[in-house]
Symmetry: C2
C-alpha cells in the first residue's frame, strides 16, 4: 500500500485505517457496545465505518443512566457539499432522535478562510449560507439543536481566548503540523474549534459531548480532552470514522481538492447523474472481464459501490450479506452491483433534495433563526470561565 | 549605562532612547512641525517626551487639509491606573479638542488575561471597569469617541481573522519576541490590536490614524503598517514617547511590575500622599548635601521631579526654563523642586479625581454606553473586508 499522510487539513495517498489508529492512539470500538444502542442502530456505526473512539463507552453509559448527552458535528464551508459531507449530519440526527442528544453544529467559515489562501470572506460566507440549506434539510429538532457561525457568533472569541491561554504554539505545531509560516489566525483557530466542542457544556453545564468525525479530525479531540480537564469540563468523547470513499478509490477520501469532479457525488446530483457517475467512475472490485469475474469472483471489500451500500445505504443486514456473497462468488456482476447502489444513493438524495426544497420554500434565514443562540444563551457563553 | 531590553510586554534596565530609536527604526520628530500645531501645543509633544514618529508629518498634513484624522490610545487593564497610564488619554483629548480627531479607545482585557499567567477573567474584567471610570473622567466628546472592550465587543474577532491571515507566526516571533511556548491566544492577540489601530478606518473609511504610544509599542505599529497596505487601508501613523519615568529612576518606566509601591503615583493618591512619595522616593538630580548642591549645582535632566514638570505639568515655558537654570546652578534646592512638582501633580490629580467623582455619581455604565459602538457601527465592522 502506498505512503499516506493525514492531518486535519489534508489527506494524501491511500489510507491504512489500522495504522492510522496506532498513529493517533485512539481505541477500536469495544465488542458488545453496538448491541446496547437503540434500534435500528446507526448504519455506519453498526457496519464499522465508525471504527474507533475515545470514551464512546462512557457516552453510552451516560445515556443509559439518562444523563444529559450532546453531539457536535460541524462544517467548514469550503464549497458545495457532497455525499461525504452530509452523512455525518444524518448520523448526528440519529443520536438526537434515538438517544435524545443535544446537537451543536458549528460552521467554521473562519477556518476555511484562514486555511485557504485564495479564499475571500464573501466566498466562505456564501458557501456557509448554501451549506446551511442542506444542513437544515437534515431535519434537526430546533428545541435541541443549535447552529453557530464563527464569523457571526463572534462571542465565541471570549471562551476561545480562555482555551487558547492553555495551549502553546509548540502543542499546535506538534499536533496539527503547523509551521512558523502558518498565519496566526490558523494558529489560533484550534482554540475556536475546541470551544465548538465545549459549547454544549457551556450552554447546559458539564456533561459528555460526543464528536463523531473522520479520524483525521482526532487531533482536535485529543487536545480538547487535555484542555477540558483544565477548565472544569468533561473530557470530550470521540467517535472516529473512516473517510467516505472517493468514487475512484476505496482508500481515498471523497474530496474536491484538486477539483476532480469524477471523485464526488454532489447533493444536487439527480438520479441520472448519480447513475452515470457510479457506472463510469466508481472503483470496482470486479474482475477485468465478465468471464474472469464469473470465474474468480469480485472483491467487495475494495468495491466503492459495495462500500457505499455497506456503510450507508443498505439497511437490510440479510440483503447486504447476500450482495457480498453473490459478488464475491462472481454471480453478481459489477454492472448489477453498481446499478443497485446508484438506485439506493439516488433515492436517498431525492429525499434529501425534497427536504432541501422545503427549506428553500420556507425561507432558509427564517428556518435558520430557530437554531441560533438566543440572548440568554449568548450571555451564558460570555459568562463562562470567570474564575479561569 | 546598563544593558536594557524593551519588548511590548517588558521593559528591563535603564533605557537609552536614542539607541531604542535605532533599534526600532523610527524617525526623530522633524524640525518645525511643532510650530505648525494648534496652540497651546500638547506639552509632552512640545517638550520632547514624544520624541519619534512614523508619518506624524503626514498626519499633520492631513489635518491642515481638513481631512478626517483619528487617534487611537488604549489600555490593558492589568490593575489600577497610575499617572503614567492616564497621561496618554489626556494627550488624546488634546488631539480631539485642538485638531478635531476622532478618538478610539480599546480596552484589551483579553491581552492582559493572556499575557499574565495568574490572571483570572473576572480580574481583568473588574480592572477594565475600574480603569474605565478614570478614562471616562478625562472627558472625551461622546460624538467623536468610541470605546471597545475586547471581551465584550467580540465582533472585532472577524476583522482580526482577516488581519491574522496576513501575518505569520515567524513575523510575530521576530517582532514581538514570542516563543514556541507562548500560548496561542497571545500569538493571535497582535492581530486584535492591529484591528484596534484600524478600527477608525473600518468605521469611517480609510484615513490617517495616529497612535501616540510609548516607544515599546512601536512593533505593533510597524506590523500594522505592513498589513494596512495589504487590506486597503492607510498606513498607521505613530507618535512615540519615552516612558513615564518611574519615581525612583529617570530611565525606568513607571510600572507596578514587581509590586514596588514607591515607584508609582496612583490616580487615587491625595495631595499629602503625592507630596510624601515625591519627597521620599523621587530620584533627585541634586548633589548629596546642600553644601555640595550650592557649590556644584543639580542635574535637572536626570531629576524625576524636574522631568515630570518638564514633560507634563509646567505649561509655562519661561517658568520651566527658570527652574532648570536655577536648579542647575544650585540656587534651587532638591526639596524646593520636589515641593513645587508635588504641588503641580497633586493639583492635576485633584482635578482628575473631581471629574472621576462626577462619572461615579452619573453612573459609569450609563456614561460608558454613550461611547460604545451602536448597531450600525458594529455592522460596519462585520461588513468590512468582504473582498479580502
Amino acid at each position: 500500500m502506498a505512503e499516506f499522510r493525514v492531518t486535519p487539513w489534508e489527506v494524501e495517498g491511500e489510507v491504512d485505517y489500522e495504522k492510522l489508529l496506532l498513529q493517533f492512539g485512539a481505541d477500536p470500538i469495544p465488542e458488545g457496545i453496538i448491541e446496547e444502542l437503540p434500534k435500528p442502530v446507526l448504519l455506519p456505526l453498526k457496519r464499522g465505518y465508525f471504527y474507533a473512539h475515545r470514551d464512546f463507552d462512557k457516552f453510552v453509559e451516560d445515556w443509559k443512566e439518562e444523563k444529559k448527552i450532546s453531539v457536535v458535528t460541524g462544517r467548514g464551508p469550503s464549497g458545495p457539499m457532497h455525499l461525504g459531507h452530509i452523512l455525518p449530519f444524518y448520523a448526528a440526527r440519529w443520536f438526537q432522535e434515538k438517544m435524545g442528544a443535544f446537537v451543536l453544529i458549528p460552521i467554521s467559515d473562519d477556518e476555511k478562510y484562514l486555511v485557504r489562501k485564495e479564499r475571500k470572506v464573501s466566498e466562505v460566507e456564501r458557501f456557509a449560507r448554501e451549506n446551511l440549506v442542506d444542513i437544515l434539510a437534515v431535519g434537526f429538532d430546533p428545541e435541541r439543536t443549535r447552529i453557530v457561525i464563527d464569523f457571526e457568533d463572534t462571542y465565541l472569541y471570549k471562551p476561545a481566548v480562555i482555551v487558547a491561554k492553555r495551549v502553546t504554539f509548540s502543542t499546535m505545531k506538534a499536533v496539527f503540523g503547523l509551521t512558523n509560516e502558518s498565519n496566526v489566525g490558523w494558529v489560533f483557530y484550534p482554540a475556536v474549534q475546541m470551544v465548538h466542542l465545549f459549547l454544549p457544556q457551556l450552554l447546559l453545564g458539564p456533561h459528555r459531548v460526543l464528536v463523531p468525525v473522520a479520524v483525521d479530525q482526532d487531533p482536535y479531540i485529543r487536545v480538547a480532552r487535555d484542555v477540558a480537564e483544565k477548565v472544569g469540563l468533561v473530557k470530550t468523547a470521540g467517535l472516529l470514522s473512516k473517510f467516505m470513499p472517493s468514487l475512484e478509490s476505496p482508500f481515498g477520501k471523497m474530496s474536491t481538492s484538486g477539483g476532480v469532479e469524477q471523485k464526488v457525488i454532489w447533493l444536487t446530483d439527480d438520479k441520472e447523474t448519480v447513475r452515470r457517475k457510479i457506472m463510469k467512475y466508481a472503483f470496482s472490485g470486479g474482475a477485468p472481464t465478465v468471464e474472469e469475474h464469473r470465474k474468480y469472483g469480485g472483491k467487495p471489500e475494495i468495491d466503492v459501490s459495495f462500500l457505499y451500500l455497506l456503510y450507508f445505504f443498505e439497511e437490510d443486514d440479510r440483503k447486504i450479506r447476500e450482495i457480498e456473497e453473490s459478488y464475491r462468488s462472481g454471480e453478481m456482476l459489477t454492472g448489477e452491483l453498481k446499478a443497485y447502489a446508484a438506485e439506493k444513493i439516488a433515492s436517498f438524495l431525492e429525499e434529501h433534495q425534497m427536504r432541501r426544497s422545503k427549506v428553500l420554500d420556507a425561507g432558509p434565514e427564517e428556518k435558520l433563526s430557530e437554531y441560533r443562540l438566543n440572548e440568554e444563551e449568548k450571555r451564558a457563553v460570555l459568562e463562562w470561565g470567570k474564575d479561569l
